[in-house]
């Protein structure tokens, strides 16, 4: 049972990160109906920006906030300058543009910060060797608990934003029918730019947590996280924020339990394969995910 709780907790804490990025994916998908393949790379870049300020001696929490602000601006600017004009052309053009952004930002971070020594970033949470509590026979480190708490807090904040504010109402309106929303006077442009901005900030937060847990910012750190997050968003339903969180935590738990109890077949190397298998299975049997709305096509 100890092994199970250990895997469960490991899964929840890494799942929390996936959930954050999955939330970013979902926020954008609800807004513009696109999957932003550059989400992970944008987040990495924001983490580097946070590191730059941290390196200059700015307190860590402030640096992370600056990184998130950068992520917000990067996301919003991308929506305004690239995605919006291209959506008038074709959805394929938007897809190609996000792929090009992925490659471009990846090359940029690799080129500027690529070679060791890599940039070190402290964790937002206490991360000394003795910073843990014992619960249910396993070690629960503060960094992992922190990631979990941050994810839940962010989810709660997003829920309040979506359900209790005018902006959230506008976002929900645009998600359900962009054209009608525009007709009733909702500034759809600002709402969409805002969605991309929020997604960028969420990604930045996730990236700084990942970097803090690893101890350093590396250009490739968000790639697998992004793949896990797409698996999480698919599992939860691409248009369901709650689904993204549940999906992220589930994916984290599934991969860690699989790795723990099937060391021979899965082990550490095949964890990602488990997540990818989840994408396959979910899309085969329930393409709209656990909590997503099934798409009905009108002919």
């Amino acid at each position: 049972m100890d092994r199970f709780f250990e895997a469960l907790f490991l899964g929840l804490s890494s799942g929390a990160i996936y959930a954050l990025v999955a939330l970013a994916i979902v926020v954008i998908f609800r807004g513009t109906g696109t999957l932003n393949f550059a989400q992970g790379e944008m987040a990495t870049m924001s983490a580097f920006v946070a590191w730059i300020f941290d390196d200059m001696g700015v307190p860590l929490a402030i640096s992370v906030l600056i990184g998130m602000a950068f992520g917000f601006l990067l996301g919003a600017a991308t929506e305004v300058s690239i995605i919006r004009p291209l959506q008038k052309k074709s959805s394929l053009a938007v897809f190609v543009a996000t792929i090009a952004l992925f490659l471009g930002i990846n090359a940029l971070t690799n080129g500027i910060w690529g070679t060791p020594p890599e940039e070190s970033l402290d964790s937002l949470f206490p991360n000394d060797p003795d910073d843990f509590v014992r619960l249910l026979g396993t070690v629960w480190r503060y960094t992992s608990i922190g990631a979990l708490v941050v994810t839940l807090a962010v989810t709660a904040l997003l829920f309040l934003l979506f359900q209790k504010t005018r902006f959230g109402l506008a976002m929900r309106g645009v998600a359900s029918n962009a054209e009608s929303s525009r007709l009733v006077g909702i500034p759809t442009g600002r709402v969409l730019a805002g969605s991309w901005g929020i997604a960028g900030a969420l990604g930045a937060l996730a990236a700084t947590i990942v970097a803090g847990n690893n101890g350093q910012v590396t250009p490739t750190m968000m790639f697998t996280v992004f793949v896990y997050a797409t698996a999480a968003a698919t599992l939860g339903g691409l248009d369901s924020p709650g689904g993204a969180v549940v999906g992220g935590l589930l994916i984290g738990v599934i991969e860690n339990v699989a790795a723990e109890f099937s060391e021979d077949w899965v082990g550490q190397d095949m964890k990602l394969a488990v997540a990818l298998l989840v994408i396959f299975v979910v899309l085969l049997f329930k393409p709209s995910g656990l909590f997503g709305t099934a798409k009905v096509e009108r002919v």
Binding site: L35, V96, G104, N110, L283, P287
Partner: protein
Amino acid sequence: MPIQVKQSSPGHWVIRLVWAAAVVGVVLYIPARTQLGTVGDITVAIEFAIAAISLNLVLGYTGIISLGHSAFFGIGMYTTAILVVEYGWSPGWTFYMAAAVAFVVGCAVALPALRLSGIYVALVTLSLAVLFPILVKWNKLEWLTSGPAGINGVAYEEIPTWPFVGELRGRESAKFFYWLGIVLLVIAYLVSRGIVKSRVGRSLIAIRDNQTGAAVMGVNPALAKTLVFGISAGVCALAGSLSALRISLANPDNITISLIGSITFLLVMVLGGAATLWGPIIGALVYVLIDTRTRKAGTSGEGIINTVFNEWLNFKTSPASFVLAVIILIVVFVAPFGIVGLLKRLANHVIVIVPRPAGHAGDVPVLATEASADVEEAPTS
């Protein structure tokens, strides 16, 4: 007022002959007059061109978003490597096997994936691309793929002597792989052209533009899509086989068989021109040009690329991918059909090929380069 030339009139044939002569001229010129390094670079371009042609079949013409073609490239690479090294096959025969294996895998992936649409297919194929390098490293498959070490020594024991090309041994073998690449490229081009210019191709374009409409008109979308995906996978595997023989190893960390490979194929195709027959070839040549230029700029310390990336941004790696990404972002705005689409639009100011009226008896194929403008409708997914 542009000159008007009727399709299949003598004037049209003259244009075709001039075009064909120019292409043959370039193909002959490269190994005869350029350095071996350039021949090697062009061979890399040929590999990308074959992969991009195969991707164009599914994405450009049928509108299926595939991010999984690096896996098919890898299947080609590993099939050849395993058959040559473990089973002692002659390399030439492994191409058939590689294409066959990739065809089967392609169809198998396509069957479930094609129940989905648009972005969901992209997700399934994305997982395929990410899964492939993990699978070949998996310890349960080590007996077949040699795990993380990869397979070394994939090579011709003796490079065959071809008529007209002659004996190409030692350093000259770069030219042999160039010619092998040309043969495969011609095959890939003919397969793609054969599909696109036929009844099947028209049904694919119909599926891309309006699947429901196509189904109503009697096209079987599931069958057509599955087959074209399988064929595309088979063609892509040819490029992988060539690559394995050229670099004489199959390595799980090879960047081309990771997701980056799929992305590069896709961008090469978009750069040259989606849904055009020559687009992938032109795109691959331009991509390799960018790659070699930026690589040189990174070391020689000259030129604007070097100034921007080495002195201003202090780049530590080759900026090739970054430059490619920026160019693509410009291309999707100004030239939705890539370089070839742009050239066609310009050429249409000078000369216009008037297509024969529809319903004409007999079936003379349309010349690839001057395909009429009606093919150029925006692909939707």
